[in-house]
């Protein structure tokens, strides 16, 4: 008898001939993410992945409470839909009853409000003498006798007791929902333009959820912005790396570039010229570090630099695709995701990543191509971009 984790795969199961490579990547990601939880055996059967401790006394599997951290870690791995702590044991129906009662008791201690339940059963091992409906009936009755405060509710119960009879028996109650998606590493790397705001970490999270490993670039303007602003971005990168895996954060020393831009381009075009330079620096870094696209947290119409004209103006300076996963989301939806992934509280810390002295009071919201030519006529863009790429500090961000 031992507790194991049962993780369910999602979209991967729709894959055709290449399904195997996705599964291998998923198991490899799980292995990397879970290594801090002890010596584990991770294997797959059909659309499920089983995670078992090699040592019986592994504390991370002893109870629902103790398993919370490892279950959360599993849920951070893209490709997983949900995870349950399951009791694995051999024996007849009596042992199923005992284990179910034990599990339900622990669940009720953690969730005293639970009042209704149902039993679901799957019998893969057809030599087991009872059919699935009989198992549900008998076990349901036994649980009602043992916990008189509970009642059965077939539609939307508070919790479901699952019984699975395979080569061993499994009982589990409830599941923790994960973030679905595809395993990180199943597509090419992307370069995330990361700031200290709410949007860009969410954009990184969303692309990682499609299997994309990330590098990130941040434009730092000390002394106009503080080391705390930089630390905030490092912290956000760490939060994103909890989902995307290890990443390198490239911190571009942007101070002199920003000063040059400020001196030589018109105030109302400063944001556009600045973003054009930033994208070019990001693209050079992306090429250098084998990234195939840039990722931004832009959302159409959110601020002056995110009007369609401004996006077109910044888009034209790079050849690489720019992915903008938030482009059609409203701010509230982005904030919801930010909260869900645990980035929001960090994103709203009051350390600005762009000093107000560089923000135009009335930026041009609909820049025309001729405005841009005019704005950049006194600038040596190539040398600014070159300086940005050269003056970069690389920080390896590990999720743990």
């Amino acid at each position: 008898m031992a507790n194991v984790l049962l993780a369910r795969m999602g979209e991967i199961t729709l894959k055709g001939l290449n399904r195997g490579s996705f599964e291998i990547q998923l198991k490899s990601n799980l292995k990397y993410r879970l290594k801090r939880f002890g010596n584990l055996k991770i294997y797959q059967s059909q659309s499920r992945i089983w995670i078992e401790p090699k040592e019986e006394e592994n504390p991370n599997f002893q109870s629902l409470a103790q398993a919370e951290d490892i279950m959360k870690a599993v849920c951070q791995v893209f490709g997983i839909v949900s995870v349950s702590l399951a009791r694995k044991f051999e024996g007849d129906f009596e042992s199923i009853k005992e284990n179910a009662v034990e599990f339900v008791r622990e669940l009720l201690e953690r969730n005293p409000d639970y009042k209704t339940f149902k039993v679901e059963s799957k019998r893969g091992n057809k030599t087991f003498p009872m059919t699935s409906p009989v198992i549900c009936d008998e076990l349901g009755g036994h649980l009602l006798d043992t916990f008189p405060e509970l009642t059965v509710k077939v539609k939307n119960p508070d919790f479901i007791v699952n019984v699975e009879i395979r080569e061993s028996n499994y009982v589990y109650v409830g599941k923790m929902m994960a973030h679905r998606g595809l395993p990180v590493g199943t597509c090419a790397r992307g370069m995330l333009l990361l700031s200290g705001g709410i949007d860009s970490p969410v954009a990184g999270f969303m692309m990682a959820s499609r299997g994309m490993p990330l590098d990130a670039v941040y434009f730092h303007s000390h002394p106009y912005t503080s080391d705390m602003a930089k630390q905030k971005v490092i912290d956000l990168a760490k939060i994103v790396s909890g989902y995307s895996g290890r990443m390198t954060l490239h911190v571009v020393n942007f101070t002199q570039i920003q000063l040059d831009l400020y001196k030589h381009s018109p105030q109302d075009m400063l944001t556009v010229t600045m973003r054009r330079v930033m994208l070019q620096i990001a693209e050079r870094l992306a090429q250098k570090y084998d990234c195939k696209c840039l990722i931004t947290g832009e959302s159409l119409g959110q601020v002056a630099s995110q009007t369609m004209e401004a996006i077109a103006a910044t888009n034209e300076v790079v050849k690489m695709p720019i992915l903008r996963p938030l482009i059609g989301l409203d701010k509230q939806a982005t904030c919801d995701i930010s909260r869900d992934i645990g980035a929001f509280e960090t994103s709203i810390l009051p350390y600005e990543d762009c000093c107000t002295v560089f923000v135009a009071k009335h930026p041009k919201t609909h820049p025309h191509p001729e405005d841009i030519i005019e704005a950049e006529k006194d600038l040596d863009i190539e040398s600014l971009v070159e300086a940005g790429v050269l003056g970069t500090e690389d920080i390896v961000i590990d999720p743990f």
Binding site: P223, T225, Y262, P350, E352, C355, F358
Partner: protein, 379 residues
């Protein structure tokens, strides 16, 4: 490194380090409350420290209580007095330029039904006397809370005049005085100052963090904030630490010597900086007659936080209350209360000195400010 942030905290002096090491030896570190010989010895040591501290401050030993910090002292004094003396009155007078330890304690009282009357403050950082008389005239004032030297501007409160007015117009009002920024920088004698309760902090006078003092004049009764084993006459429970009390005393002894020389040295630095910075278009926000240890200055063209980060490039450390944020401009409430306009206050930086700062450092500072203007001024 040039450290001009001594009002935030000071470096621990060598003598304090040595004293701490000495007081951490086994034979002197028993619990002063223990009944055995070692305990008695520890208690003697502790009481000796208390007596010597009281002597230097011009108080009696049983008027001195060691706390964890000046914030604890302020909380104990303000909340403790009002809790114990419910019939003394329902009003407290103070100013809006007090340290947060005082203001938040007063907010606590306000939320418990007390009336807090804030006096007007002038551009000189001092409470306006007409305002004091007016608020006292309304009666029912149990407590008055002031600061001897303002931590942001160095403004010195004219305590003799203010206390005399209070004693005349409202003789039963008890006075609490925050002496944190004054200690070691100007003569502080509790007997002659005449406040009823005072707070002091160790780490502002080159001791370590974690030690402060509360002075409560004999005859003034307050409820303790921290209760437990009844140590320190029941005023502040918790096992007494001879190490922390001893560290405070050692620092106090050191800063109490040479106050005049320190003041003279820092005055020169202050005058030099005032002159040079004004010549560069900066606005001096500290009053002319402020304690020279604090110099609040608003730099033209630089928001406070940007100037702070510019200076840190050159290993120069200052502080600012104003934070640079696109969404909300946090500006010093002390400066606003004095009547400084918001834009000037948003560029305010506090330079705060110790007696160990030098003119060379001040000159280097000015040189660096010039470089910062050359390199980083935007506009």
């Amino acid at each position: 490194m040039i450290y001009f942030d001594n009002s935030a905290t000071t470096f621990v002096s060598d003598k304090v380090r040595a004293k701490i090491r000495e007081l951490m030896e086994d034979e002197v570190s028993a619990n002063p409350g223990a009944l055995h010989r070692l305990g008695n010895h520890a208690m003697d040591l502790y009481e000796g420290i208390r007596k010597e501290t009281a002597d230097i401050l011009g108080a009696k030993p049983d008027e001195i209580f060691f706390t964890s910090c000046a914030t604890e002292s302020a909380n104990t004094a303000i909340k403790g007095y009002m809790s114990r003396n419910k019939r003394a009155g329902k009003a407290v007078i103070s100013t809006r330029t007090e340290h947060k330890a005082t203001l938040e304690s007063l907010e606590y009282l306000a939320s418990n039904g007390y009336e807090i009357r804030y006096l007007k403050t002038g551009l000189d950082g001092k409470p306006v006397m007409e305002s004091l008389e007016e608020e006292l005239g309304k009666g029912d004032v149990a407590l008055a809370c002031f600061t001897l030297v303002n931590n942001e501007t160095g403004a010195i409160m004219p305590y003799e005049l203010v206390f005399k007015t209070i004693r005349t117009l409202s003789p039963t009002t008890v006075i609490y005085l925050d002496c944190v920024q004054a200690l070691g920088k100007m003569p502080v004698n509790l007997a002659s100052i005449g406040a009823d309760m005072c707070s002091f902090s160790g780490h502002k006078i080159h001791s370590v963090k974690g030690n402060g003092i509360l002075y409560v004049k004999k005859g003034v009764r307050i409820d303790p904030l921290i209760v437990g084993g009844g140590q320190q006459d029941g005023m502040r429970s918790g096992t007494q630490s001879a190490v922390l009390a001893g560290a405070f005393l050692e620092a106090l002894k050191e800063v109490s010597e040479g106050i005049e020389e320190g003041l003279s040295n820092v005055s020169k630095i202050n005058s030099y900086l005032r002159k040079e910075l004004t010549a560069r278009g900066a606005v001096i926000l500290s009053p002319d007659d402020a304690l020279p240890y604090v110099l609040n200055v608003s730099f033209k063209g630089f928001e406070s936080e940007t100037m702070l980060h510019c200076l840190e490039i050159y290993d120069i450390y200052v502080s600012t209350v104003s934070a640079c944020s696109a969404k909300s401009k946090k500006v010093s409430y002390v400066l606003l209360e004095m009547g400084v306009d918001r834009k000037t206050a948003a560029n305010a930086v506090r330079l705060s000195f110790s007696r160990y700062n030098t003119m060379d450092e001040a000159e280097e500072f000015i040189k660096r400010v010039d470089e910062i203007y050359d390199q980083f001024l935007v506009k």
